[in-house]
């Protein structure tokens, strides 16, 4: 179709895509939700400042997956897609929140869970605070490296940065945390 009015060529409606019936798509995404939701919330929580935002980021990630399900060539890559969506979504959420500079006051504050209350690891609490205070990129790199166990190459691919940058961010992040890590190790 010619774009004679300059508004861009209309895209084909998603519902006409032949890859799956809507019910099948819903079913597949729901199954993924049930299987991976908790783990993704855990990942998101490491990247944002509170539980509510983490859950919102994961909701958005599943919403994206649902919208783009038909365009996903490799359905086995859905989990990786979700993880990347969470990482990117967390970045956006954190950026929005920090612009507002009200993150401690306007969100659902994290309560110490029963588990945390029981353990009361002061060193972990302080380390968490230190991680939360890292620049966003350093925090992302450390979480991807030490929580998801991704390689430098994978992190570089996910974050769309060079491997050198990954190394640099990881080194700086670890250096920033070193005092806390050394004290507690």
């Amino acid at each position: 179709m010619a774009d004679i009015l300059g508004f861009g060529v209309p895209r084909q409606r998603e519902t006409t895509h032949p890859c799956a019936l809507p019910e099948q798509r819903d079913e597949a995404v729901t199954a993924l939700f049930v299987a991976h939701h908790r783990r993704l919330v855990g990942l998101a929580r490491l990247l944002v400042d509170d539980q509510q935002s983490a859950e919102d980021v994961v909701q958005d990630a599943f919403g994206q997956l649902h919208r783009r399900w038909c365009g996903l060539r490799d359905k086995d890559a859905a989990v990786a897609y979700l993880q990347r969506a969470v990482v990117n979504g967390a970045r956006s959420a954190l950026r929005r929140r920090r612009v507002r500079r009200r993150e401690d006051d306007v969100v659902v504050p994290d309560a110490p869970s029963a588990e945390l209350s029981a353990l009361r690891h002061e060193d972990h609490r302080q380390l968490r605070a230190a991680i939360a205070g890292l620049p966003q990129r350093q925090r992302q790199v450390l979480v991807l490296r030490y929580f998801l166990d991704l390689s430098e190459a994978e992190i570089a691919h996910w974050l769309d940065i060079s491997r050198g940058s990954v190394k640099q961010h990881a080194a700086r992040g670890l250096a920033a945390l070193s005092a806390r890590l050394e004290v507690t190790v």
Binding site: A44, Q51, A54, D105, V106, V108, P109, L174, S178
Partner: protein, 401 residues
């Protein structure tokens, strides 16, 4: 609890900390509830076919309301206490109708609930400024009172009154609701706390044990009342003033506004947020337990109890509840024959509606994103809720059928 083993290296320690942190978040999330939320968002986009597989995940149970009978332990002798059980609070009914003027973005983070006064909704942002909402148009007017403001807002003698702080000095300020300019203030007080207005005049909490009745036009002090039980919250009814200790204190005091003397004291209650019913009775949360209690307005005898769902509230609410345990905090509101209460149990956002007389719960609504900033309010026949989230919102919910 088994003490953790010491990690061998900083990297291992970091890994252990991250895993522990993530596990903590995973423990606290409710996948079933989040799945329901996800399905609702899909349905909202019109892309979800309500297929058979949804049925297992999204259960819309009918609230089973049953009643039991206990005997009151209050000071007025043996009167029956009806206990309204709320049944399946875990499966709230869907929100009926539509949100009207659904999202009014505000100028700042909501620091308090909206309060109706002089035909507008007023609330304070976390920055201490005031926003005025026109409920008809949704227009938000930013007010800069020149002091750090705090709610609630009440209207008396053509002024909208609120508490304000400038440096170390606290006063109550009255502004013109049309021009939004501050036109009068009281003398400095040691604490500028809660305000309430009613047929018995304008009353303010001015100290840990002190209430003052103020002239609604000039702000002049008409009388000062000492409350031995302590006072945190005040509510003015037709011919009485209720002073709730709250904030770690004990007791609810009924004060005669004419003499300033107490008519009755209920010492065994840790009163949280209060709401007055038109018939003079009182709904209040006893902060020691997750329950809303209806009290006889004169005798303070406990008449009805509505148990609340399990789960803790938000951190700011826990601060308010400090010393009284870690359970949900509900903000009651009585409108006509209905009792409404907003609460944030375990990260959920519920609006409960019950028969204000019997306590029978008729509806529980899950209202979506954002914690409630305080009690709901009613204006023009609609329920308004203010929520705090990444987007501060004031939402108007259409009248319930």
């Amino acid at each position: 609890v088994t003490p953790p083993t010491t990690p061998a290296s900083p990297e291992e320690h970091l890994h252990a900390c991250l895993s522990d942190w993530a596990e903590d978040a995973m423990t606290r999330t409710d996948t079933a509830a989040e799945l329901r939320r996800f399905h609702r968002s899909l349905a909202h986009r019109g892309s979800l076919r309500r297929a058979r597989w949804v049925a297992a995940a999204a259960v819309w149970a009918v609230l089973a309301v049953s009643a039991g009978v206990l005997t009151s332990g209050g000071g007025g002798g043996a009167r029956p206490v009806r206990v309204a059980t709320t049944g399946t609070l875990e499966s709230p009914a869907p929100l009926p109708g539509t949100l009207v003027g659904a999202r009014i973005a505000t100028h700042g983070s909501l620091g308090d609930a909206a309060h109706p006064a002089a035909g507008f909704l007023w609330y304070v942002t976390d920055e201490g400024r005031i926003d005025r909402i026109d409920p008809d148009s949704g227009e938000v007017t930013q007010v800069r009172p020149g002091v750090a403001a705090a709610g609630p807002f009440v209207e008396a003698e053509g002024r909208v009154w609120f508490a304000g702080r400038k440096g170390d000095e606290q006063r109550f300020y009255g502004l013109d609701p049309q021009t939004t300019r501050v036109v009068v203030s009281t003398e400095p007080v040691s604490v500028a706390g809660q305000l309430s207005v009613g047929p018995a005049g304008l009353w303010a909490v001015t100290g840990a044990r002190e209430l003052q009745q103020l002239d609604g036009r000039s702000g002049r002090v008409l009388q000062t009342v000492d409350t031995p039980q302590g006072v945190y919250d005040v509510h003015v009814a037709a011919d009485v003033v209720y002073a709730g200790a709250g904030d770690g204190g004990n007791g609810l005091t009924v004060i005669d506004p004419g003499t300033g003397r107490s008519r009755a004291v209920l010492p065994d209650l840790a009163p949280g947020p209060l709401a007055l019913a038109p018939d003079g009775d009182l709904w209040v949360q006893d902060l020691r337990r997750p329950a809303l209690v209806r009290l006889d307005g004169t005798s303070l005898v406990q008449e009805v109890v509505i148990p609340l769902p399990g789960g803790t509230s938000t951190a700011s609410q826990r601060e308010y509840q400090e010393g009284w345990g870690d359970h949900v905090l509900a903000y009651p509101l009585v409108v006509g024959d209905s009792l409404y209460a907003v609460m944030n149990p375990a990260g959920r956002r519920l609006l409960l509606r019950a028969d204000a007389r019997t306590g029978a719960v008729t509806h529980v609504f899950e209202t979506g994103r954002g914690n409630f900033a305080g009690p709901a309010t009613v204006m023009d026949g609609s329920v308004w809720i203010a929520s705090r989230h990444t987007e501060p919102l004031v939402r108007r919910i259409a009248p319930f059928s």
